[in-house]
């Protein structure tokens, strides 16, 4: 099928405002959804789901959230790990105190709590920008991690200091805890990512998204149009932290099973930031591509030598991984600041003109 816009005249603004105005894009998305819902869960084995695909979905959700804040609203944050931790610990507390509340609802409640915390730490963004704001969010990162480590109430005074996902069912199906199958956990994570992506896409193509981008691109001009900087930034912090909070909750309850605060340390913040830089700042699709890339490359690097029958010490592949990431991030920042999403776009534009070179 040719990738063409020709002949697809948009007869109304409604058609033009659609999420994917071009029919080939819609077909592509439909295909991705069919594969994600109908093929992957039945084809992939337990190992792949647990070690690769579930964490990818969860990190993609966090990356979408961070991209709303950093890519769209232009507020650099290094507190992603902390906001994820808030979601995880909130879920743990709520579900151990009120075991009867549907765990999916608890995930959303925890997202709201993370949103509140995110907004509090977003207040300095009214006064400070860029690097200095990043430092302020870094304070959130260290403070929250310290708090959850120090105050026993948060982990129910468990002597090991960990939070453990208790078994939880939804409509009789085990979704969290040791007995939940990878398949079920995959589905739950996938639904969260799908809904989260649609909502993010809706937000960025409406008034809210335009206000965020206006603040990002020219805050003074935005203010003079009547966009209120504090409200707009706090909304970005709130919604972004909601996504991160839910992702944090999912990562303990659908993936890790148990966790300490180290699971949400500064490395996680950087990892999610790298996802959106490589994937593309200001692109929802890019967040997902970036998350896929960063979760898949390590797997590839650990498995490739074995496949090629080359003896390869694991710590060396770990170093190589870091070198490749570092290099790619520098490369993207210099050569293609709009990331993989932009490469995808360019590819589509080429395809649209094919077979003519221009």
């Amino acid at each position: 099928m040719l990738y063409r816009e020709a002949g697809q005249f948009k007869t109304s603004y409604a058609a033009d405002q659609a999420m994917f105005p071009i029919i080939q894009d819609r077909a592509f998305i439909a295909m991705v959804l069919i594969i994600a819902y109908g093929v992957v869960p039945f084809w992939a084995n337990e190992y792949w789901l647990q070690a690769v695909i579930i964490p990818f979905l969860i990190f993609a959700l966090a990356a979408v959230g961070l991209n709303l804040l950093t890519g769209y609203a232009g507020q650099l944050s290094l507190g992603t790990g902390a906001f994820m931790a808030v979601g995880a610990y909130a879920t743990y507390k709520i579900t151990t105190i009120y075991p009867d509340i549907n765990i999916l609802v608890v995930f959303l409640m925890s997202g709201l709590i993370a949103a509140g915390v995110g907004m509090v730490f977003g207040v300095p963004s009214l006064r400070i920008k860029g690097f200095y704001l990043a430092v302020a969010t870094l304070a959130a990162q260290f403070f929250i991690q310290w708090l959850f480590n120090k105050v026993g109430w948060f982990f129910n005074y468990n002597p090991s200091g960990t939070i453990i996902a208790p078994p939880r069912t939804v409509f009789g199906v085990m979704v969290a805890g040791p007995e939940a199958t990878a398949q079920v956990r995959y589905f739950v994570a996938l639904v969260f990512l799908t809904v989260g992506t649609v909502i993010a896409k809706n937000l960025v193509r409406g008034r809210v998204g335009r206000a965020w981008m206006a603040i990002r691109d020219r805050d003074i001009a935005a203010e003079i149009i009547g966009i209120q900087p504090l409200q707009t930034k706090l909304l970005a912090f709130g919604i972004s932290s909601f996504y991160c909070g839910v992702a944090g909750a999912l990562s303990v309850f659908l993936w890790l099973g148990s966790a300490e605060t180290e699971a949400f340390d500064i490395n996680v913040s950087f990892q999610v930031l790298f996802m959106i830089i490589i994937g593309g700042l200001g692109s929802i699709l890019g967040s997902i591509l970036g998350a896929a890339f960063i979760t898949l490359v390590p797997i590839f690097l650990t498995n490739a030598p074995a496949l090629l029958n080359i003896p390869f010490p694991t710590d060396l592949s770990k170093h190589i991984e870091e070198i490749i990431f570092g290099g790619l991030i520098i490369l993207f920042l210099i050569a293609e600041p709009n990331g993989m999403a932009r490469l995808w776009q360019i590819g589509k534009e080429k395809l649209r003109r094919w077979p003519f070179p221009y």
Binding site: N202, L203, R210, A211, D217, A221, I225, I239
Partner: protein, 262 residues
């Protein structure tokens, strides 16, 4: 030229406004009125305080003395948000567009204040939220037609040539359907044809929508052509005010432009 019998009551009164930056007195007890539906030009040599005046009117600068009365409400200082709500829109001397956004999205931001659905509706992009978006899109499409920029609707503004960027910026201001439009050197850096287009747009806006316009312009032939009245600033002080013909022959104005006697 626009009809001369349209002028209404005082819409904006600037009264004894002063502002200093360190030692620089950018505005020194400046007073003037702007009447509804008129086109008022502010002229003066570089650094005279023209841009500072616009910045005070829309609340970006806060004058240390004086008051500003808009639509009968007297204020010590305007606030940006308040000014936008009250119907003041502007363009900037150095284009201040949202570079990463398309022409369409830039102009849509001009409608932001008029969009009422909260973010929860927006998240659904459905029902009332979608209807609202389409309603405002229709208004913005009118602005796009009016400014003849249909072909660059989806282009990121960062890729547009300078003249077109100025036009998009005007579009963003117009989308807010302002009562008072402040234009800071809307024709600076344009070639002859672009200037002609811009003059036509300004006159048409004034004519068709009755929008009151305060503009800063260096090109005297343009000023003389389109403005109903002219205010002349020099070193932060108002040195003359009147019709273009009165101002043209004013000795203080001639001296200021020739750099005589300070």
């Amino acid at each position: 030229m626009s009809p001369r019998n349209k002028i209404g009551d005082v819409l904006l009164a600037v009264d004894g406004v002063s502002i200093s930056f360190g030692g620089v007195r950018a505005l020194d007890k400046v007073s003037f009125d702007v009447r509804a539906h008129e086109i008022l030009a502010i002229i003066g040599p570089n650094g005279a305080g023209k841009s500072s005046m616009l910045n005070c009117i829309n609340g970006f600068y806060h004058p240390q003395e004086g008051s500003i009365t808009f639509k009968g409400q007297r204020r010590r200082q305007m606030q940006t948000h308040e000014a936008a709500l009250q119907g003041i829109a502007r363009t900037f001397q150095n284009i201040a567009l949202f570079k990463g956004m398309s022409t369409l999205d830039n102009i849509m931001t001009g409608r932001n204040l008029k969009m009422k659905r909260n973010f929860l509706w927006q998240a659904l992009y459905f029902g009332p939220a979608l209807r609202e978006e389409l309603e405002h899109r229709a208004v913005v499409e009118n602005v796009i037609d009016f400014l003849e920029i249909e072909s660059i609707r989806k282009t990121p503004v960062g890729r547009l040539p300078y003249g077109l960027q100025k036009r998009v910026e005007l579009g963003r201001a117009l989308a807010a359907e302002p009562d008072l439009l402040l234009l800071d050197e809307p024709m600076a850096g344009m070639n002859y044809e672009e200037k002609e287009d811009m003059v036509r747009f300004i006159l048409d806006v004034n004519d068709e929508f009755g929008t009151t316009i305060v503009l800063i312009e260096h090109d005297m032939s343009v000023v003389m052509d389109i403005s109903d009245r002219v205010v002349v600033l020099d070193y932060g002080r108002k040195i003359a005010e009147g019709t273009p013909d009165q101002v043209r022959v004013n000795q203080d104005v001639i001296d200021a432009y020739l750099g005589v006697g300070h």
